[in-house]
Symmetry: D2
Subunit: 416 residues, 4 copies
């Protein structure tokens, strides 16, 4: 494998010109607007002949590290973004699924992409770590676990964009309507893909009006319909059955906690023990207990599987709900299920999550099909799925001031 080199960034025009060759054959990734991603701006200057311009400039040598759960979508979107903006990319995908990325590259080459534009590193993450240290890419995009993200941030002195842990919350507001739809969306957000989306619903704050209206029964009913047979539930790649059930037990020791449904291993399957296999599970924890310092950590631990915490709140407890959302260490996706515009404004104004759905159709999952997806409240936060995300992660601001003259008269020049 060839190590990445500190090549000079090519001019945007030239770089994107080359990428155009690819584009002609790879239409479904781009459309006609690729070069518009590098749109800049100009402002008149202070005197005749001066103009300042702001440009989105490539970093040059960059690295991408992406996880197992979206083996095509995440590397494809981020890699094409990196290339569109004129960078030279080194790609590493979780080794359990990196065969998919290899096929993507072979497809790109088949379509005419220059083979020197991307380097792919197959193998364990530790090798990629060594390469990063040696090659010193100007920027590295990392999507994956919080632990590795923080290690990488320290190792690169912060030259990273991160999309890591997602303990994603949903608040059901006081106005109950469309119960069937909301219950269905809760079930989807928590358990689709066995809860292995970064945006999966990790905690549900249900207003007591919804509990009274029967929401918990509905989501129980929906969850218990999920079967291995039709793949509405499936293996978990990064948590074992035992670790999920142990976590469930820890939660159930909190005073007032109770199991809403699930909490049992799946049966009748041949899923290897290195993976997890559990029923869709929800644990109810009383709000006041969840907020106690001794419980908050375990309640807000992200389980990357078919698992959620459920709690209930009264009108008077809204400040505590918002405090809980604020105290979580990461702020990825969130949902405020309500058509009460004043309630919606209040919650939005007091939270900082990156991708936030509001309204009766709000969900935690959904992006990046047609929206920005990424955390907020953290200067290292990455984005994916929109032109803004590509511009943020794969380019930097370069201000060029042209000042072609005329020069002022010599008599006006004094030293300072």
């Amino acid at each position: 494998m060839r190590l990445i080199q500190r090549v000079a960034p090519k001019s945007i025009a030239q770089a994107l010109g080359e990428v155009r060759v690819t584009r002609k054959f790879f239409e479904n990734f781009s459309g006609d607007q690729v070069r518009f991603l590098a749109r800049g701006f100009t402002n008149p200057g202070d005197h005749l002949g001066q103009m300042s311009s702001g440009n989105r400039w490539p970093y040059g040598p960059v690295a991408l590290i992406t996880p197992f759960n979206f083996p095509l979508e995440i590397p494809a979107l981020q890699l094409m973004g990196a290339l569109y903006m004129g960078n030279k990319a080194l790609l590493h995908v979780d080794q359990r699924v990196s065969v998919v990325a290899e096929q993507l590259l072979r497809l790109l080459h088949h379509c005419g992409a220059p083979p020197t534009d991307v380097d792919l590193l197959h193998g364990p993450g530790t090798t990629m770590a060594d390469v990063i240290k040696a090659a010193e890419p100007r920027s590295t995009l990392f999507t994956g676990s919080q632990r590795v993200a923080e290690w990488l941030a320290v190792e690169t002195h912060g030259k990273v964009f991160l999309e890591d842990a997602g303990f994603d919350w949903k608040i059901l507001g006081p106005d109950v309507r469309d119960l069937d739809y909301v219950a269905w969306q809760c079930d989807q957000d928590a358990y689709a893909c066995s809860g292995q989306k970064c945006s999966a619903q990790s905690i549900l704050f249900a207003h007591s009006n919804w509990v009274t209206a029967g929401l918990l029964d509905r989501i129980t009913d929906l969850a218990t319909r999920r079967k291995l047979a039709n793949l509405t539930v499936g293996p978990v790649l990064s948590w074992t059955t035992k670790s999920i059930l142990d976590h469930t037990k820890r939660l159930l020791q909190i005073p007032g906690a109770k199991l809403l449904f699930g909490g049992k291993p799946l049966s009748g399957h041949s899923i290897p023990e290195v993976y997890g296999a559990v029923e869709p599970t929800a644990v109810f924890v009383p709000l006041e207990q969840a907020l106690l310092p001794e419980h908050f950590g375990v309640v807000t631990t992200e389980v990357f599987g078919p698992f959620q915490v459920v709690t209930e709140w009264q009108d008077s407890q809204l400040p505590q709900v918002l405090d809980a959302c604020e105290r979580m260490s990461h702020h990825l996706t969130a949902a405020v299920v309500s058509n009460d515009i004043n309630f919606v404004q209040h919650v939005l104004g007091n939270t900082v999550n990156g991708t936030t759905y509001v309204g009766i159709r709000a969900r935690t999952t959904g992006a990046p099909q047609n929206h920005w997806f990424g955390p907020a409240g953290d200067p290292r936060g990455a984005g994916i799925g929109t032109p803004e995300a590509i511009r943020l992660v794969w380019s930097c601001h370069r201000e060029i001031i042209t000042d072609f003259g005329p020069v002022p008269p010599a008599a006006s020049l004094v030293q300072s």
Copy 2:
């Protein structure tokens, strides 16, 4: 002193509403466009009732650490930016000049600013370091030395924006014109404020046409006019006389190197020994020697005083000049002095500096009076001086998707 708290960010409307109170009394900082800094965008969604919006959102609790050399401009621009975007700020200014920041705050309070919007920490940098560790601001802006910047980047796991070392280069292109003006601008860029601007010219790549035309004589002539008496040269705060002269000696040991002018202590003054006091100095180093690995480090060491390296290049050596610019570790300001549009395009397309002036009037200093000022090629790079800079450093992207309905029919809902 009250420690910063992890307060929830207020709604932008509310936060900026409060700042308006200040603004009415503090017109010269803002004009009527303050709230436009928080401009967002909207896009139609995929179905009736859905809309996605991108918002510039405050971080909430943030910190600012600024240096000695612009005791008012840097803290004022960055602090007002932080406040305009709705953050709560903790400010630390180099203790030798933090009295200026205190007066700024008193002025703000006098004008009506809420006294709880900003906390000011007087004292040594080590205390500020302790506070950062304890308070964990969501983001920290640091302007100052490269050493502290890298320490802070590791300590905060990269939750920083940095404007640190500036080894700033200027290239004089092949087309000679306006010699008096260009020489004057070179003198200003290298020696104004005794070279203690982040954007001061650190190395000059003069095309041999300029040398033939007499540029080196002109800049020598200009430099030797500078006198302590009229403050066109003055004390250096972060390098001693000895350390500057020692650095000069190291450069002069490079084969072919020679002193163009300066290289002597100032005389007849009472500047304390803790500061530096030297004549404006330039050392000529042959290009091929400067590029050797054993010399490149010392040649590209930033001296934060009235000091520059000068070298000369022929047409055939342009690739080496560009390679030198690329190999420098930091990419702050730069200048390409030429009206030859093809030459200008070539240099721009192969470099990555943040603030780059081009044209016969190009200079390395100048921003942020009316342009963005900041490094490029580094995801931690800060900016100052323009709306884009304020938005980059003091806000993050938050995508809010409103989806108020109607909901789809129950029959269309299937589990996945």
Copy 3:
């Protein structure tokens, strides 16, 4: 008076550079962002060396014609916009108030504005019409009556931006709340400045829930408090007392119509007969009658004085309300008073008014203090009050494509 000439537009940089001289002395009009109004954009091209840029370009010679009701605000905002974008302006203000514009120009000259940047034409509108015909400005901004606007549009072959008739509607939605506030806002929108704002409320569609809650009593109560003594009602400049009362009578002949309040001349005053002097007046017309073709014209005639039509609607009549709004010939300001987000979305999605307030605090008046003000649904529609308005009315798009080479090889050039 010197006639406007077909001068070439100066370069934006140069033009705005000159305007800067003014700006330094005239801070309250601008702030530091004047030149940012001329912000352009750039896109990479198709091949090395090509770049396209979109610029906001001045027209060059332009004319402004403004009415009596805002003798300072409208000419000042529009004139400064014209100058900021680099145009040379000929100004005509309604001759009853043009002394104000003269003082504005004297102030500008006192502050340093170049005296040749603006020409002012005192005198009757017919003289201005002759000048427009002779001078052929590239564009003319007209604010005033619909009749003159349409004449001017024909005369200039459509080289105009218009802000003319405003028959502005307000819809009160089904959700009643904050009755005192909404009644107060209705009173303000209809009767402040004696109804002589372009944005004054001309018709009120009150949902029956509001009528039941007592809204009509409240607005009656508020209107009858208005007195000439404290100037909460005053003279009408463009409608006489007789013409207003005649119009009232015509409306009262519609079956079911009734006078809510007013309908009488003011007494005890010395207002000349050439002006109008009537009590704040409201006529209630049943919705189904108002919509009949034989009544619709008179119901939707704008009275530029303290006068409004009021009607009432039931849930089932919303399509008729929206049809009425759609059938009005001009679409200036509007208000949808409701916090019911689904109702608000439905009304917005089926109307086209330019400046539309929604929410429980919605009003028809308010802009351009901090919003765009202008009609929509008409390509001739002008705007005032925001950067977008200035850019729309006072500049056009100019695309400049730079293509400095290199040229392709001769062998690749074929004739087509």
Copy 4:
């Protein structure tokens, strides 16, 4: 044929949602960014709960009238733009070629486009004129002759966007280089498609350095290679042979004028007499003669065929060249062939043409393949080919201010 109706514009979300159905099957027109065309912006308001937003809103009922020379490109680009922005369109294409538009619509229907979104009117322009008068579309896009454009502008009271006459100029600057390429581009710009592009080069201002270098010989050589046999010259649809030759004669009567090449009918063909058939033709007219009032009109008459005027200028005559460009009545495309950046800036700063190419590769033709194409300096000016063009022609600004509360206390409410 069904007449267009004054339907209410649908909500943007709804309208674009419907268009998406089309889009899935009609990829080469759009890519994934269709709904981004309707991007709006938001600004925080003055108080809690207020926000203003600027939206690109559809007009609703609109008309399109397009010419013979691009029977697919112009109607396709403009029609899809109209639909993307949510309008309901009535399309009329020159009856000689409207069969192409019919096939386009059949293709759209085949791909899933709702058949009610577009009405097509086959037939003479006079019928379309009657329909416009009766249907009163909110806006009409017209591409075609200047005479009809001005008639339509008067008839609709200016509710139009126009892309009409294009008397397009090219200036060759003082710096001669790449002679072969520049001559080839001149030949292409004047004679490709037999000069029947709106952007065809109508007059060439060649600096005497280019004449000395042999440019006129080169373009003569290239023009005389053009043959009917290989379709490098062909029939002219809107000028007859006689009318072109008569115009040539008129020009040759100007003192000093001479025929450079052409000026003869094509022979050996069966092109009907209703069309034109002439050799590529150039008439040289001395600059000082061309500028005389008695000659300027005929010199700047656009011949929509393989015809151009050529003139020569010296350095001292640049003001006259710029004056000529300024005095032309329409300002569509232009080219400044020079890499001398100061010359380029000077010409740009003193002209107002809409699509202006600069640099040694500058051409008058080229857009709208990848640039905005449209006139400047006229508020009725249309655009085609870019997102900005679609937004300008097919949508208007609608400002919506949401103000959901809370309301201020009753005690603060006073009448004004």
